[in-house]
Structure formats: structure tokens, C-alpha cells
């Protein structure tokens, strides 16, 4: 009996993934129609992007500062503290920037998308839209999806810039690394395409995945307050897992 339950849970999970994939294609199909509601997309970029700036900028500053502190300490044991800036920049651009921003994004914007769309579902607003011949995918979901794709790279770039600033403050102003050494080692080893732009591609993918999972969980939630609560939790869990797994796959392909 327990195997039967396990297998049914397994098929449930498979069905969820399949439904999510179909949902992605329905969003793609709805994107051209959603251009009619372009203002809604802009409002969503404002909501998921610009409103996340505070947390992204604060976390970026601190992550950069702690990276600078740790790497300066570790690298000075090998007599190469001068490379601190380089290692901070490479770690940020390639991995930490996109991943940490995606995790913060899932917590800050993904949950609010799930809760909003989920409450629309629970309070029958989505059914009402269908009644009025307004496609909820084009009016509710697609703008959020597009907003995630647009906002995420911008957030990652801002995160990276603030983190470099934080590392600079710690390494140069506090620990006394030479300013010229910090920058010249960084510019000598960081490549714009393999490091910066690859990070931007990752962030586009993470933005798409996080908003897809968030809106899928909201759209298919059980129409109760408990259901919305579970959907919000699942958004954070699934977004984090998907982000980290996708990060590994993308790194393997982009390298």
C-alpha cells in the first residue's frame, strides 16, 4: 500500500511538472494578446522590479562586503590578497549575483504574485474575467511573466554593482588594499561575454522560471485561504529548487 501511495505521489509530481510545462506554453501563446494590456506589464515591472530594489540593493551591498572580507582573509594566507577584487567579481557575475537575486526575488516578488493570483482564483475574479471574455492568461499571468523576464536582469545588474561597491568599501577603505590593484586585477581577468553576459542570460532564465512557478501556483491554487497559504509556500520551495538546479545546468552549458 505504501508503494502505491509513493507511486501515486510520484505521478502527482510528474503531473504537476507537466501541467506547469503546458502552462508555460499557454503563457507564450497569450503573450501577443497581452500586449494590448501593455500598461499592466509596466505596472508589474514596477511592482516586481522597482519595489524589490530596496531588498536587492541592501543584500547586494552586504553580500559584496562579506565576500570581500572573507576572500581578503583567505587569499592573504596565500599572499594573493590583491586578487580579492577579481575573485569577488567572478563569483558574483557568474554565480552569486543571479542565484541570490533569484532566491530573493522568489521570496519578495514570487510570493506576492502567488498570493495575488491565488486570491483572484479563490475569490472567483478569474472566473469573472472569463465570463467577461477577458483572457486571464493575457491580462493577469502574461504581464507578470514578462515583468519577471525584464525585471530580473536589471535587478541582477544592480545587485552586482552594489556588491562590487560593498567589496570595494571593505577591501580598499577598510582593509587597506590598494585601489588601483583592486580595479586593475579585476579588469585584467573579468571578461564581459563569458562572465557578465552569461550572468545576464542566467538571470533572464531565472526570472522566467520564478514568475512561471509563482503564477502557476497561484493560478492552480485550491480556492481556500489554506490553499493560497500552501501555494505561497510551494512557490518559495519550488522556485529555490528550480533556480539552483537550473543554475547548475546552465553553468554546464554556458561554460
Amino acid at each position: 500500500m505504501s508503494t502505491a501511495r509513493t507511486s501515486s505521489r510520484f505521478t502527482d509530481a510528474l503531473a504537476q511538472i507537466g501541467a506547469c510545462g503546458i502552462f508555460l506554453f499557454r503563457i507564450f501563446a497569450a503573450v501577443p494578446r497581452s500586449l494590448r494590456y501593455f500598461k499592466e506589464t509596466i505596472r508589474q515591472i514596477w511592482f516586481v522590479g522597482a519595489m524589490s530594489l530596496t531588498i536587492i540593493m541592501t543584500c547586494g551591498l552586504f553580500i559584496g562586503a562579506v565576500l570581500g572580507l572573507q576572500l581578503y582573509d583567505v587569499l592573504s594566507r596565500f599572499g594573493s590578497a590583491a586578487m580579492s577584487g577579481t575573485v569577488v567579481a567572478l563569483a558574483l557575475y557568474r554565480e552569486l549575483g543571479p542565484v541570490v537575486t533569484a532566491l530573493l526575488f522568489a521570496g519578495r516578488a514570487g510570493t506576492s504574485i502567488t498570493a495575488e493570483v491565488g486570491l483572484m482564483r479563490a475569490t472567483d475574479q478569474i472566473a469573472a474575467m472569463e465570463m467577461m471574455a477577458v483572457d486571464p492568461l493575457a491580462y493577469v499571468v502574461a504581464p507578470r511573466f514578462l515583468a519577471g523576464i525584464v525585471a530580473m536582469p536589471a535587478l541582477v545588474c544592480i545587485f552586482n554593482a552594489l556588491a562590487i561597491l560593498g567589496a570595494h568599501v571593505v577591501c580598499v577603505s577598510w582593509l587597506g588594499l590598494d585601489n588601483g590593484t583592486f580595479w586593475s586585477n579585476m579588469t585584467a581577468s573579468v571578461d564581459v561575454w563569458t562572465d557578465v553576459i552569461n550572468g545576464v542570460w542566467k538571470s533572464v532564465a531565472f526570472g522566467a522560471v520564478c514568475t512561471l512557478i509563482a503564477s502557476f501556483q497561484g493560478y492552480t491554487t485550491a480556492p481556500t485561504s489554506e490553499g493560497v497559504a500552501y501555494a505561497t509556500t510551494r512557490t518559495v520551495v519550488f522556485s529555490s529548487i528550480a533556480t539552483l538546479a537550473l543554475d547548475f545546468v546552465m553553468t554546464a552549458f554556458l561554460m
Binding site: I45, W46, A50, V150, A154, D191
Partner: protein, 169 residues
């Protein structure tokens, strides 16, 4: 209406901020800051061993960057490494008997190509080949030489001299 305007302006500012951050990262913290934007010309150099010389490694004269490595391929017939150097058009007065050497910045740093100017009145033109080349000095080889040389009654002064130019790029 006023509120709607404000969030649209805010969104625009947000996206502008994102692009500004990207532009800052791309231009101030990467090797783009070192790229020569102007025209360049190509010269070739053959080395018996290029070590770990990579694409886009700097080409330097007197320690100043004048270009970059545009290609490293093995020539199938002579079985030596054919390195294409892309030199900035600004530096068009390099004598054509200049020597090229693969050096290492620092003891374990990245490798680069150093051009040592000769005295010829003619200058390198696009497609010319550097005749005098000095291969990359392999640390393992040097260590091997010293280990073997230690048994001799006479210290291998010649070998020691050979090693010095490579250790001092």
C-alpha cells in the same frame, strides 16, 4: 492619472538604472576597459612552445599593452605554434626585426607576448612574420635543469643566465 504617471516614470527609471548598472559592470570592471577600440593589424610569430598562452592575452612592448593574441594554432607541417598577434594601428612603427617572446607576468601569473624592438628601418606590416622568437620558459623544465645541474662540479652558470630573462619579464 497622476499616480499612474508616477509608476510609469518609476518603471522607466528602474529599467534605466538596470541598464546603467550593466553598462557600469561591462565597461568598468571587465577587460573591455583594456580593449583597443581602434583598427589593428596582424603579425605572425612561430614558437616551439607557447606554454599556457591564451586567446586575447596581451601583447606588450616595454611593459605597455599594444595589442592582443588573436589566435594560437598548431601549424601542421612544421609542428610549431603559429600565434597571430593583433597590434593596434597606433603602434605602426615597430621595426620588423623585433623579437617576440612568451613571458609570464609574475612567477605564476598569466602569460603574454613581449615584443623587443629591433633596429631595422623597416616596420611590421599586416601579415608579416616575426623571425626572432623565444618560447615560453617552462617552470618544470627549469627545475629539471637545476636538479640535473646540481651534481656537476661546476655550477651551470650558462643555464642560470638563460633562466634569468624569463624570470624578469
Amino acid at each position: 492619472m497622476a499616480q499612474r504617471q508616477s509608476f510609469q516614470i518609476g518603471t522607466g527609471l528602474f529599467i534605466l538604472l538596470g541598464f546603467a548598472a550593466l553598462a557600469y559592470l561591462a565597461t568598468q570592471t571587465t577587460s573591455v576597459a583594456n580593449y583597443s577600440q581602434g583598427d589593428s593589424y596582424m603579425i605572425k610569430a612561430r614558437f616551439t612552445n607557447v606554454g599556457q598562452l591564451k586567446l586575447r592575452a596581451p601583447v606588450k612592448i616595454a611593459g605597455v599593452r599594444v595589442g592582443s593574441v588573436a589566435g594560437v594554432v598548431l601549424e601542421p607541417e612544421r609542428l610549431d605554434a603559429l600565434v597571430t598577434l593583433s597590434i593596434d594601428k597606433r603602434y605602426d612603427k615597430i621595426p620588423d626585426d623585433s623579437a617576440a617572446a612568451v613571458f609570464t607576468s609574475g612567477l605564476l601569473g598569466d602569460q603574454y607576448v613581449a615584443l623587443q624592438p629591433g633596429g631595422s628601418p623597416d616596420v611590421f606590416k599586416n601579415g608579416d612574420e616575426v623571425v626572432l622568437t623565444q618560447s615560453s620558459m617552462q617552470l618544470e623544465e627549469l627545475i629539471g635543469k637545476y636538479l640535473v645541474g646540481q651534481g656537476d662540479s661546476k655550477p651551470p652558470a650558462g643555464k642560470g643566465d638563460d633562466a634569468k630573462p624569463a624570470a624578469k619579464p
